[in-house]
Symmetry: C2
Subunit: 347 residues, 2 copies
DNA sequence: AACCATACCCAAAGCGCTTTGGAAGCCATT
DNA sequence: AATGGCTTCCAAAGCGCTTTGGGTATGGTT
C-alpha cells in the first residue's frame, strides 16, 4: 500500500493524506481521523527512501566505528553505547546506520556518507588526540557529535564525555589516602583522547602529593584482559613493585587481578586496584557490593544523551554546540585497602 | 553534484552517464572512461535514496538486536559479529542498519522494516527455541538469515551456527577422560536455542558415560561474570560439589574462576573448567597458550559468512537456503587437569 | 544503391513521497 | 450583492536516480 493507493481508497488527494498524516494544520479534524484510521487499517507505512528523497532528510544517523587494523578489535563499550543511542533514535523516528571501517580510509567514509546523503549526521567514536575528523566534518558540513573530546582543537563542536581527568585524580588520591606510594597506571592507548586525559589526572595527583612520576609504573595499550594481566605480572615482578594499580577498564582489571592472584597475593590486602567502570551490561562490577573500587559512569546513558544532543544540533543548526561532561561516581569495593608495610609481603 | 549536473558537464544525457557508471554495455569504452574520470574529478556519489527509489532495492541489511527488558543487556558477542558482517557489507556496497528493540514489540519492527522498504533483508540475532520470527519473516516475505538455529521449526531457512551440541559433547567427554564424574554446567538462558543445544550435548555425554543427570549441577542464566561467580560459589559450597565446570561463555568462566580462587582452590588442579570461547577481540583466552581449555569458534567469522549467505539469498531468491554449521576447535589450556582423588581437598 | 545490423546515444516516464501555488466553498461584513 | 477572509482541499512539480522505448549514425551486405 502506498500513498496513491491509500488516497484513492479514501477519495482524497495525496496532498491531503500526506498532510493529515504529518500533522499539518490545513486538514479538518474529521478527515484527519478518517485518514489515520485508514492508514492503520491498511497498515500503511511511507517508504523511507521516497520520503527522504522528497524532504532531503535521511532520518538516519551514521555511526562509524573505527577498527584498529593492527588489533582487529572493536571497542567493547560499543554495544552498550549504541543500545543507549538506539533508544533515542527509536523515540525520534531515526534509523541508525553503522559503518565499520579500518582507520586507513575513514575520510572516504565520512565524505561518502555526506555525498550520498545517506545520513543527517554522525556520531564520532573513539576520538584521538588532535583528531582530524572534527576538522573534516566541519569542513564538509556534516553535523556530528563526539563521544569524548579532542584535545588540541580550536573548533567548537558538540560532545559528551565523562570527566576523565577528575575521575583519575580522585582514584589516585584515594589510593594515596590509603597510604600507597607506588601506584601503577594500566591505561588505554594514549593516542586516544580519553586515555590521555586519564593519565593527566593520574599525574596531577602524583604531583599534588609530591611523588615523582615514574614511567616504569605506567602502561599504555589496548584494554584487554591479557594485556592487563601481562602488564601487572611484569610490574609485580619488580624489586620494588607497585602496591596499587589504576586500570582504565574493568576488563584490564580482571587481568590485573589474575596476575595478583597468580603471585599468591590477595587483592585488597597486598595489592589494591581501582578501575574505571563503564557499567557494561554483561560485565558488571559485582552485584550489590562492588568487587572493584571504581570510578564509574554508564556508557549506555552516554549513548542516549549524546544521540539527543546530535538530533538537537541537526534540528537547530544555528544553536551553539552542546558540551556535556558527566562526573563519575566513585564506589568503594573489595579491591582496595591500606598499603601494606614495606616488609609485609617481601617484595 | 548530481547526475543531471554531471551529465551537463559532459555534454551527455543522464541515461548514458548512468549506464556508463553502472557498467551497462550500451556505452563505448571511450565515453565510459570519460564519464568515470569526470565522476571521480567532481566527486560524484549517487544519492542512496534516489537510487533506492528508482531500483526498488535498499542496498541495506537490517540487524535487529533483541534486548531483554528484564536484564537491559545486549549480547557481548554482538560487537564482534557485526564487525564481521560489516566487512561483507562494505565489500558489496551494502549499508548496515541497526534496530535495538525490546522483545515486546519485535514483530512491529520487522513489519515496519518491510513496509517502509528500508532494508533488503535482515539478520536474526539470538534465536530462541521455537522462535516465532522465522514464521513471521517467511510470511511477510522478508529475506533473512539466522545467527544460530531454531529447534522445532518446519520451515526451511538460511542460517549459520556453530555445532553447539558436538562442542559440548566434546567438552564433557574430555572431562570424563580426565576422570571427572561430577561436572557442572553453567549455561546461558535455555530459552535460547544455542543454550538448549549445549545442554543436550552435555547430557548426551553424561548418558554415554552412564552418569545420571543431576539438575543440581546445572545452571541456566544470563552469561555474566557475576552470575558465573555466584553459580560456582554456590555449587562449590555443596558437600559433594562438582570437580569440573563447563561454561557457555568466557565471561561466565571468569566468574567461575573467581569463585574457585576465592575458596582457596586452584583452577586446573582442584577444579577444572572448560568454556566455550567466541574469540571476542577484547576478551581473548590468553595469549599464545590458552588460559581456559575451550571449544572455540570465531563469532566474527560467523558474521562475515552469514552476511554473505544473506546477500546470496537476496540475489538468488530461488536458490535453496544455505545452511552452515561450523565445527568448534578444541583447545587445551591451563584450566583443566586430572580429577582430584576424593579426599584430596576435603570437600 | 538500397538495406540491415550494430553501436551509441537520448527523451521521457516512473519510483513514492512532499510541497507550492492555487481553487472552491462558506460565512461574515460592508 | 459584492467583497474579503477562512477553511479545506487538490493538481502538478519536484527530489535524483534507473530504465523503457526509441532515434541516428556507421559500416558491412546484397
Amino acid at each position: 500500500m502506498n500513498l496513491k493507493q491509500l488516497s484513492e481508497q479514501l477519495g482524497l488527494s495525496q496532498t491531503t493524506v500526506s498532510r493529515a498524516l504529518n500533522g499539518y494544520p490545513e486538514v479538518s479534524a474529521a478527515t484527519r481521523h478518517r485518514v489515520e484510521a485508514a492508514a492503520k487499517e491498511f497498515n500503511y507505512h511511507p517508504s523511507t527512501r521516497a520520503k527522504g528523497l522528497a524532504t532531503g532528510r535521511a532520518l538516519a544517523i551514521g555511526h562509524v566505528i573505527p577498527m584498529s587494523t593492527k588489533h582487529e578489535m572493536v571497542n567493547p563499550v560499543f554495544g552498550d553505547f549504541i543500545a543507549g543511542a538506539g533508544e533515542t533514535y527509536a523515540r525520534n523516528g531515526y534509523e541508525m546506520i553503522l559503518s565499520i571501517v579500518d582507520d586507513s580510509n575513514e575520510d572516504q567514509i565520512y565524505r561518502s556518507l555526506k555525498l550520498r546523503r545517506a545520513v543527517d549526521g554522525v556520531i564520532v567514536h573513539g576520538p584521538r588526540i588532535d583528531d582530524p575528523r572534527i576538522a573534516l566534518l566541519s569542513e564538509i558540513g556534516m553535523p556530528f557529535a563526539v563521544h569524548g573530546q579532542v584535545t588540541h582543537n580550536a573548533l567548537p563542536y558538540t560532545f559528551l564525555d565523562v570527566d576523565n581527568h577528575d575521575a583519575f585524580v580522585q582514584a589516585t588520591d584515594y589510593l594515596f589516602d590509603l597510604g600507597h606510594q607506588r601506584i601503577a597506571l594500566i591505561n588505554g592507548l594514549e593516542t586516544m583522547d580519553f586515555a590521555y586525559r586519564r593519565r593527566s589526572g593520574y599525574e596531577a595527583s602524583l604531583r599534588a602529593h609530591g611523588v615523582a612520576i615514574d614511567p616504569a609504573l605506567m602502561r599504555s595499550s589496548e584494554m584487554t584482559e591479557v594485556i592487563g594481566y601481562e602488564s601487572a605480572r611484569d610490574l609485580l615482578a619488580f624489586n620494588n613493585g607497585p602496591t596499587a594499580f589504576i586500570c582504565a577498564s574493568l576488563i584490564s582489571a580482571l587481568g590485573v587481578r589474575r596476575a595478583i592472584e597468580e603471585r599468591g597475593l590477595v587483592m585488597g590486602q597486598d595489592v589494591s586496584v581501582v578501575t574505571h567502570d563503564d557499567m557494561l551490561s554483561y560485565l558488571q562490577n559485582g552485584g550489590e557490593t562492588p568487587i572493584f573500587t571504581a570510578t564509574r559512569s554508564s556508557v549506555r546513558t552516554a549513548g542516549r544523551q549524546l544521540a539527543e544532543s546530535l538530533l538537537h544540533a541537526i534540528e537547530h543548526p544555528n544553536n551553539p554546540p552542546q558540551k556535556t561532561i558527566l562526573k563519575c561516581e566513585f564506589v568503594v569495593g573489595h579491591s582496595t585497602g591500606p598499603a601494606p608495610r614495606k616488609d609485609e609481603h617481601g617484595l
